[in-house]
């Protein structure tokens, strides 16, 4: 039963991800006085892309064609590890939060290789920048997550969230630091403003788009879907680790329904915040990103140190 719920939850994750992207776009359009596309537009795009005939460069090797499947699968696996509507997940035990970060690294590894495969300058540029940013963001993310796992003394995400839930509302300085660190990292890792702009194809600024420039058809659909999934994953992580209230602790259908409503509400709210931030903030210069990310790293470290110095039991 647990496994069934875990699989269903993973599927729900995958299905809801484009909706979140649509909602984000909807909020952003309204904030910027533009006419918003329908909330279902991302689904239509995905369907359109997956029914089109893909065009692949004649320079491409097998890696280029396999990479989208690997990227999508790795991101989907990461999604199954994160509790969405119910805390007690068996998948969280088979892969803990470090493994989840590992899945992200796996997806990124192949994305960067795919960018290099065609041998254009754009692909290399995107890969180089992506690896730079992620190699600064990954430690910051691990720091934030370690703060949580040391508080809960488990690296199992379900266990950690259950721990926060049972503790009740305690204001921990370490969690505040970790929350901000994780938000900064999430913005950088999902390629949002101010680190990367997902809606531009200007060569001087693009990172994620530069790597996937050569993809089309179903491959593009998979990669787009994976990045929407990643956005939702970070949203769920922030929402459920730091504000876990509402998530279901039992498998009873009523609680599950409430859990679903709660997470939808939390994500909708987070997306509004993100849209406001993206509207207000301008994109950074590439070589200011390291300052931004070192700040995130510092926040994560501060969170961990304040946990160790102030909050640990002795």
């Amino acid at each position: 039963m647990n496994w069934l719920i875990a699989i269903l939850q993973g599927a729900l994750f995958i299905i809801l991800a484009p909706l979140l992207a649509g909602w984000l776009k909807y909020c952003k359009c309204h904030l910027q006085n533009r006419k918003a596309p329908s909330l279902l537009q991302p689904y239509r795009d995905l369907i359109k892309l997956s029914n089109k005939q893909p065009v692949v460069s004649d320079q491409a090797s097998w890696l280029f064609i396999t990479a989208p499947y690997l990227i999508f699968s790795a991101t989907a696996l990461a999604a199954t590890v994160v509790p969405l509507v119910v805390v007690d997940l068996p998948t969280s035990a088979s892969a803990d939060v470090i493994v989840m970060v590992g899945f992200f690294a796996f997806a990124r590894f192949f994305l960067a290789l795919a960018g290099l495969d065609i041998g254009t300058a754009f692909g290399g540029m995107g890969s180089s920048r992506e690896m730079t940013i992620s190699s600064l963001a990954e430690p910051a993310m691990l720091m934030a997550i370690f703060t949580l796992t040391m508080t809960a003394s488990t690296t199992n995400l379900s266990g950690a969230i259950a721990h926060v839930l049972n503790e009740g509302l305690v204001l921990r300085p370490s969690f505040v630091f970790a929350l901000f660190a994780l938000i900064l990292v999430a913005v950088a890792e999902t390629g949002r403003i101010p680190v990367d702009n997902p809606s531009t194809h200007l060569e001087l600024t693009m990172i994620h788009e530069a790597m996937i420039l050569e993809y089309s058809g179903r491959y593009l659909a998979l990669i787009e879907w994976a990045s929407q999934l990643k956005l939702m994953l970070y949203g769920v992580l922030i929402a459920n680790i730091f504000f876990p209230w509402g998530i279901s602790e039992t498998l009873n259908p009523k609680d599950l329904g409430y859990g679903l409503l709660a997470i939808l509400g939390k994500l909708a709210l987070l997306a509004i915040f993100l849209a406001i931030a993206e509207t207000l903030v301008a994109k950074m210069r590439l070589f200011r990103v390291q300052e931004y990310l070192s700040f995130a790293y510092l926040l994560g470290l501060l969170g961990m140190l304040s946990h160790i110095i102030l909050e640990a039991s002795r």
Partner: protein
């Protein structure tokens, strides 16, 4: 029986070295075989024909090469058997061999720790011996004689195995020197280039300084005990000061061999110039022997471990790991890059060993066992994937005659099998899930996260910082190996050689790396096999093993307790296969949407050339800018001008050199000081015979005065 196979491994490696010597004795062998077949074994035409065929001048070198590497492979195989046997049976075997001085027999001890490192060496040597015959064929006999290569390879392997067997300081040092000196000759094998001779000399110098430090460390221990056997050394009771002095000396000696920063400088010089299969052995295996020495010295011989030593190891390890990977990233030479990446991995091992010491000294032996598990596991993994990558680099050098990453490209289409094996190596070393590197990194993180049990505030804040540095190292390693794989195998060929490259013909050259790649994947999925073996070693060494509370332990990895952390690679693999299968079949359902091939999008300008691709230095440019203080960057841009006003640029020359900080800041001052000192000493050498007679007379007087 176990000890017998261990001895057999040593003897076989000696034998392979000696066999290589007869490469020039073909005529002698010819007459010997004629004699024996005529007199002793008459009427056996088939063996005689076989022998004669192999002794013919065109077959003999190839036959001998194969024979030498077969012996070496058998040696590796027996080392694996001996190692596995002692680990599974969990025993300690001691023995004495009446070699050396009459009153000083060699003491032998074969326990689980030695057995584990026997396993590492055995696998490495076996893979290399599969690979070797094809690789060394390209050396010309008159320039690079096979006799010296084979002899010193055999001695080198035998030396490493004997270090692990040694149970007294004398034998340890003899074996250690055998290993160091034999590997010096291997580094100097291609001695026609001055740079190679210089690298080899640097290596020898540092190896000998390190050996001196180790001898002094043993000396400190021996002065508090009655003898040089390890049993006697174990009994010695040292004050904290003396044991710390011994620790620092041992750290210097073994650290110099292992290559931790800042005493790593021989590594990036020596590894690239040795033949690739030797660099694989040196990087994958010999560095582990140094790790073995440190573990044996600190955890076994020194009776009490101090937590301050752990702090030293953590700091050194962290610095090495970060510096190693950052320097690795900047190297365009593939083997130099891999050598620097060894510095990184050794740093990680040192860091985790430091954690082990801290947990051991503060009375948490179970967590110490976890740390030792992570350290030994990482040593094992590093041996696998670094061997694999060096052998891959050898194949690339063999096929493209290049080691410069910037001159390769597009090889995934030309060399599909090599590229797949290399990809496995890159994924393992970048610690991606499902591969072995990830498991040991996961264990290292789990060890670091147990910091809550410690009372000391400094340690409690230091260890998380080290964990953060480990995370940064892992992320940088991923970036570095994306660069390596992406630039070598993907994109378009950047040089004529790589355009003409093709897959290696000799299947055995692929079999060695394939074995290692298979092990990388297998251990990534079933890490419990190795953990079970290491558990016995830590049981003998620390007196503590991990709790074995989980019934399905082959499926789950739960080092502390299932509640705290667990990882199940087989389940993850199954889930990954299902997910990939679903999306593959979903997107293949429509036959109309088969892939159409077209030209690469060139923004409408046309004429994409391979030179427009990113290169090693452009890929790492953001890193160079972010971490610029780490290196000494020497970047020069020179423009050729032309035209009437000399204002049109006709050509741009770009030069980039990345230097190591340790040279101007540590080594040059030392070299300068040594030279100055020598000049001072030189003053007493007047060259005048009367002065020298005066010196002799004065010495004699002083000695007489001392005696009376």
């Amino acid at each position: 029986m176990i000890l017998f196979s261990a001895y057999l491994a040593v003897l076989l490696s000696f034998a392979s070295g000696l066999l290589a010597l007869i490469v020039n004795q073909r005529h002698l062998l010819q007459s010997l075989s004629d004699y024996s077949f005529n007199k002793l074994f008459k009427n056996q035409p088939q063996p005689q024909a076989w022998v004669n065929m192999n002794l013919e001048i065109q077959h003999f070198p190839a036959f001998l090469r194969q024979a030498v590497f077969i012996l070496l492979g058998l040696s590796g195989l027996f080392a694996v058997i001996a190692g596995l046997a002692v680990l599974i049976s969990n025993q300690v075997i001691t023995d004495q061999i009446p070699l050396g001085l009459p009153w000083l027999p060699w003491h032998i001890r074969f326990d689980c720790l030695s057995g584990f490192f026997f396993l590492i060496i055995g696998i490495g040597v076996f893979a290399v011996s599969l690979y070797g015959p094809g690789y060394v064929r390209s050396y010309k006999e008159n320039q690079h004689p096979f006799a010296s290569l084979g002899l010193f390879t055999g001695l080198f392997v035998a030396g490493m195995l004997l270090v692990l067997l040694a149970d007294d300081a004398f034998m340890f040092m003899i074996a250690w020197e055998l290993m160091s000196v034999a590997s010096y000759f291997l580094v100097a094998f291609q001695h026609e280039h001055a740079a190679n001779r210089r690298a080899a000399f640097l290596y020898l110098l540092m190896a000998e300084v390190g050996a001196l430090a180790i001898i002094l460390a043993f000396g400190v221990l021996a002065s508090f005990s009655d003898g040089f056997t390890f049993d006697a050394l174990r009994e010695s009771r040292l004050s904290v000061t003396w044991s710390s002095i011994a620790f620092v000396l041992a750290l210097l000696g073994f650290g110099m061999k292992a290559g931790i920063a800042p005493i790593h400088v021989w590594l990036p010089e020596a590894h690239p110039v040795a033949p690739s299969h030797i660099s694989a052995l040196m990087s994958g295996v010999m560095l582990k022997v140094a790790i073995y020495g440190l573990i044996r010295f600190c955890f076994d011989l020194l009776s009490e471990v101090q937590w301050q030593w752990g702090v030293v190891l953590i700091i050194l390890g962290t610095v090495s790991a970060l510096a190693g990977i950052l320097y690795a990233m900047m190297q365009p030479n593939l083997k130099r890059l891999l050598a620097y990446s060894s510095v990184e991995n050794i740093g990680i091992i040192f860091m985790v060993l430091g954690l082990t010491m801290i947990f051991m000294a503060t009375g948490h032996p179970q967590l110490a066992a976890l740390g030792l598990l992570a350290a030994l596991f990482h040593a094992f993994n590093h041996a696998l994937f670094k061997n694999l990558l060096f052998l891959g680099a050898g194949i690339l050098q063999h096929q493209t005659h290049e080691l410069n990453i910037d001159m390769m490209g597009g090889l995934i289409k030309k060399m599909p099998q090599t590229s797949l094996l290399f990809l496995v190596g890159c994924m393992s070393i970048s610690s991606l899930p499902l591969f072995n590197g990830f498991v040991s990194e996961w264990l290292a993180f789990q060890t670091a996260l147990q910091v809550d049990v410690l009372d000391n505030g400094v340690l409690r804040s230091l260890i998380p910082v080290a964990a953060a540095a480990l995370a940064l190292t892992a992320a940088l390693a991923a970036a570095c190996f994306v660069k390596v794989f992406g630039l070598i195998f993907l994109g378009q060929p950047r040089s004529h050689h790589s355009e003409k490259a093709h897959e290696v013909q000799n299947k055995f050259m692929l079999a060695g790396p394939a074995l290692l790649a298979g092990l990388c994947f297998f251990i990534g999925i079933f890490p419990s096999t190795i953990i079970y073996l290491i558990n016995n070693a830590s049981g003998q060494l620390l007196g503590q093993t991990l709790p074995n509370n989980n019934l399905l332990s082959w499926l789950w990895l739960a080092p502390v307790s299932a509640h705290q952390a667990s990882y199940s690679p087989p389940l993850v693999l199954i889930a990954a296969l299902i997910a990939a299968g679903i999306c593959y079949s979903y997107f293949r359902r429509n036959p109309l949407t088969t892939v159409r091939r077209a030209e690469t999008w060139d923004c409408g300008f046309g004429g994409l050339t391979p030179r427009m691709q990113y290169t090693s230095s452009s890929f790492t440019m953001p890193f160079r800018r972010i971490f610029e203080k780490v290196w000494i960057i020497d970047e020069q841009i020179h423009k050729d001008m032309k035209g009437a006003m000399n204002q049109d640029v006709s050509a741009v020359h770009y030069q980039l050199h990345i230097h190591d900080h340790s040279w101007p800041h540590i080594y040059s001052p030392i070299a300068q000081a040594v030279n100055d000192l020598a000049r001072q000493v030189g003053r007493i050498q007047t060259g005048n015979i009367r002065t020298y007679l005066g010196y002799s007379f004065a010495t004699l007087l002083i000695l007489l005065w001392l005696i009376s």
